[in-house]
Each structure stands twice: as C-alpha cells, then as structure tokens.
Symmetry: C2
Subunit: 304 residues, 2 copies
C-alpha cells in the first residue's frame, strides 16, 4: 500500500483519465497505468474498469481513493505542522478567480504576503466554468454562489466563506430611480434589463424579483463581462444587477448603485480547495490574507 500509488488513484478519481493524471503528475501514461496495475494487484480486487476508450473507477476503487484522500490530508497536516515549527510558509500557491473577485481582493493580498511565498494567479470566465473542477489544477479556487445555497457541497471539498457582497441595482445618472435611497421589486417593473449569461447567480435574483413584483422583466442583452454591462447601463440602454464592491471603477460617478430591498440580493464569495491542499501552511496563509482583505473591503464600504 504505497502512498504514491494511492495518490495516483486519487488523481484518477479527480481527473477521470490516465492521460490527465500523467499530464498532471509529469509522467507518461504508461507509467501511471503500470503503477495502477501494481496497486490493483496489491489491493486484491479490480479498482478500475474500462468504459469505452476511457477508464472509470469501480466502487472499490472509489472507496480506496477516499481513503487515499484521508492519507493525503494527514500528510499535508504533518508537513504544515513542520512548516509552522520552522515558521516559514514554503513554496508556491496557485489560485484561480473570476475577474471581479480578483480585481477586488488579489492586489491587496499579494502586497501583504511575506517573502518566500509566491502566489500564482489566473482568471477564468465564470459563465462556462465548473468551479470545483478547477480544484484539481489550482490550490485555491475563488468562486461565488448564492447566499445560503451551497452549490458544491458534498464533493469532499473544503469551502471557506470569504465575504458576502450585496448586489445592487445599477442605474444611469438621471434615471428616475437614481435619487432613491433604495428600491423595491415593484419599483422595477417596466424597466429594461441588461442580463448576464446563464449560470450566474444574478439570474436567480432576477427571477425572484419577477416573482415578488408579479410581472415579467424584459431582458434586452446578455453579457458575461461586468465592464461591458456597466457601459450599457451608463449609456441608458437598461439597468442591471451589479456587485456593489466591484462596480463603477471604470467610469466613476456615472453609475448609480441603489440597494434592493425586499429580496435577499447578494452573492457569496468563497474559496474552494481540495482538503489536502487546504492543510498546507502556505495555502492557509493565503486564505487568511484573503479573509483579512475581504473584511477590509467590506468595512471600507460600510463606512461610506
């Protein structure tokens, strides 16, 4: 029962193909296949099964892969303890984010990171992305979900809530509602909306508004990029739901954010991690920095 081999099985469970595992672990597919074969012989019963041209785990294989995760976690815990002992958060940490969260949090985080800790960031369009899948590739995945709704529970991932960001109604200067301290769903009937592509949390809130107001909303466009949506709103082509902390940066003063009452209108920004990676000291350090930065952003907005 070699740990390395078990790790390979776990990777197979995460990535779904021998080739992907080989790529991720800097090996040839042949090597992976051979090691899995040895593991299977040691285990005493089939762990994998051919399906089409691919390979899937048997129930036994999944069970063993779960155990492999436990081992990986306790191994990571041990090395983290060791790093604490020497108090140095070693190594590199990789991170993916969706654009707005990255813009809001990452610059501040990277500035306050100690030396010897390298944070490699990347961004990924949220519309077409399966956030949990990225945890195989990156140490930390910044994702968003509706409040209360844990879309990715039960996959065995570590979920750390970072902040909840209100979603306001974005209005152009001069709009009839632009002077109001807040608006209710019924105020919004008859407006033209700039929508976002499917899969966004915004979507559900719009439906909730429709439900509450008792009328359908007219949706004129569908964009993924926030800056694009904002420019349309500013141009008077419609109104939109926009995240409070990350809106209006491009053209300050020309977009009016108005809170929406009567509906819980917010998105939750969380960090997703594979449990073993979550234990690494370097990763935990970054997570801590993210939480500090998030609460700071929230406070600075509450003050104004």
């Amino acid at each position: 029962m070699d740990v390395q081999r078990l790790e390979l099985l776990r990777e197979l469970a995460d990535r779904g193909s021998v080739t992907a595992v080989a790529l991720a672990t800097h090996r040839t597919p042949s090597a992976v296949s051979q090691q899995l074969k040895v593991l299977e012989r040691e285990a005493g019963l089939p762990l994998t099964q051919r399906q089409g041209r691919g390979l899937v785990l048997t129930s036994a294989g999944r069970a063993l892969a779960r155990s492999a995760t436990d081992i990986a976690v306790s191994l990571a815990k041990a090395t983290a303890l060791w790093d604490e002992f020497r108090n140095q958060a070693s190594g590199e940490v990789s991170l993916v984010t969706f654009p707005t969260a990255g813009q809001m949090l990452l610059p501040g985080v990277i500035k306050h990171l100690g030396p010897g800790l390298v944070l490699n960031c990347a961004d990924e369009d949220p519309e077409l992305s399966d956030f949990p899948a990225f945890t195989a590739e990156y140490d930390i995945v910044l994702a968003h979900s509706m409040s209360g709704q844990l879309s990715w529970a039960g996959r065995g991932l570590r979920v750390v809530p970072l902040m909840t960001e209100p979603l306001d109604v974005g209005l152009p200067v001069g709009h009839p509602l632009a002077g109001r301290a807040w608006v209710a769903p019924r105020d919004l009937i008859g407006e033209t909306w700039i929508g976002v592509t499917d899969g966004y949390p915004f979507e559900r809130i719009l439906h909730a508004i429709e439900q509450e107001a008792g009328a359908r909303l007219s949706m004129s466009h569908r964009f993924a990029d926030l800056a694009l949506i904002e420019s349309f709103v500013i141009a008077g082509l419609g109104i939109a739901l926009v995240p409070r902390y990350t809106s209006g940066r491009g053209q300050p003063g020309r977009l009016v954010l108005t809170p929406l009452r009567g509906i819980e209108s917010e998105r939750q920004i969380v960090a997703l991690m594979r449990p073993d990676r979550a234990e690494r000291l370097a990763v935990r350090t970054v997570i801590e920095a993210l939480r500090r930065e998030a609460s700071q952003v929230q406070q600075s907005h509450a003050a104004t």
Copy 2:
C-alpha cells in the same frame, strides 16, 4: 518528506538506537543512517544529535516523529478500512503477555479466531519488564496495573482495559481464616507473607493493608512465579495475595481463596498498543476477542 523515512525516524524515537531500528526493520545500520541523513537534509534542520556512542533526537526530531505517528495512524486506518471492505482480517498479529493473563485468556481467544488470522504469542516475566517498551516489538502487550492508576499514560500508547481481576488472600486448607467468607486487613496482622518481587501491583496492596491495619507485615520470601508462591502457601509457609481467576489450578482444592474487604484489592488487565498498530483490522479483531473472552471469564466466576 517520504513516508518510509518518517517511519524510520519514528522507530528511532521508539527504540532509541540506529542499530535497533535496523534490526527491527530488517536493514543494515548503514541504510538507516543514510535515510535519516536524507530526511534531515529535506527537513532543513538537525533531527538527531550524538550523545556518547548513541544517538538521540533533538526537539525538532521528536516533533517530526510525532507527526510521523499521526501519518502512520491514518495510514493504518486506511488499510483497515480497506480490509473491512474486503472483510478479511489479514496477516499476523504478535502478542506478549505475562504468564497468568495468557493462561487465562489466550487459549479461548485463539480457538475462536477466524481463518487467515495468525496470532503469535510470547510471554515475558512481568517483574523486570517495562511493558510499554514491548509495544515496539509486539502488536499487543497484555499488561497489568492497579485499578485507577494508569502507570503508562501519556506515552502516546493506546490502552484498552480488558478486565479487573480481584486479588484474594490465598490460604492453606486448615488455616484459621480459611473458613471465613471474607477477611479484613486487621485479621491479617501477625501472618507471615509470601511476597512478590518489586514492581508488581501486589506490592502496593500489601502496603495498603499495613496502613489500614496499623501494623507492619512480615515478609518471608519474594517470588515472581505464581505457581511457586501457591506451593509455598499450600505447604503452610505463609499466606499470599493471589489473583482470583488464575489461582489454584495446579493443585485444586488445596488453596483457599478468601476475598479481602476494606481495601480495593484488584489488578486491572489491559492491552497496550502503539496507536498505528491498534488501527489494524487484524489487531482490532484480536482485541475484540480478548474482551469477549475476558468478560466471559469474569461472568463464569461471578456465577459460582
């Protein structure tokens, strides 16, 4: 941070010398030394330190060895889960016992053990033995202690209580006290005692009797072997404290066991294990059998 190397460090912590580790792991001392050197280089700071002609762990080394134990435990847990999955308790289990407990429990345990599980037993004289030290060599160590008093707490060992066995006063047939249902400490003043060698739990009870009765006891001999003590008692050379469930087998009917009241007179029989070994399915199975057997012995004596 290789697991095998960490395991070696852990063994060093347990056994205290490179040679001992080499012997236990079927390697040459050279191999052990080399691997420890590699580990030290990986760890980044000294783990061992020469002391005299031996080698001791630094505080850093001890810390890392502790982590290594955690890893070993979770690894053992995983393989145990796997064995459960295939429901077969694989492999061999080694056990040491002091003579009386072995005589009382082991035959019954071995009889009811399933196939494919081999139990290797050995006995060790309890007088000169440091029970915890045997956990390095054997999977299960049967040890005894005074009730309530955990002589071997805090060493990071798993302790499973098996039974508490009363210690009665052994009298020869025809002794003035032999007809009594029970005796109190004051009844025992003036008797000549057959003692046991130092370190035995018996010792403390004798002291307690002295304290309670307010008089010193005269001790004529000191033996380790129970059968020898019994034969002296039967010969009328003195009386002795003997464990209730394992006495009088050699010459039935010639030794009278009389309960001692007014003093807690019992010994606790426990199983000692290294935490990682305690997780193995085969080991857990044996422990379960031991507990069953122990409670059965206790019940059968309570019935008479």
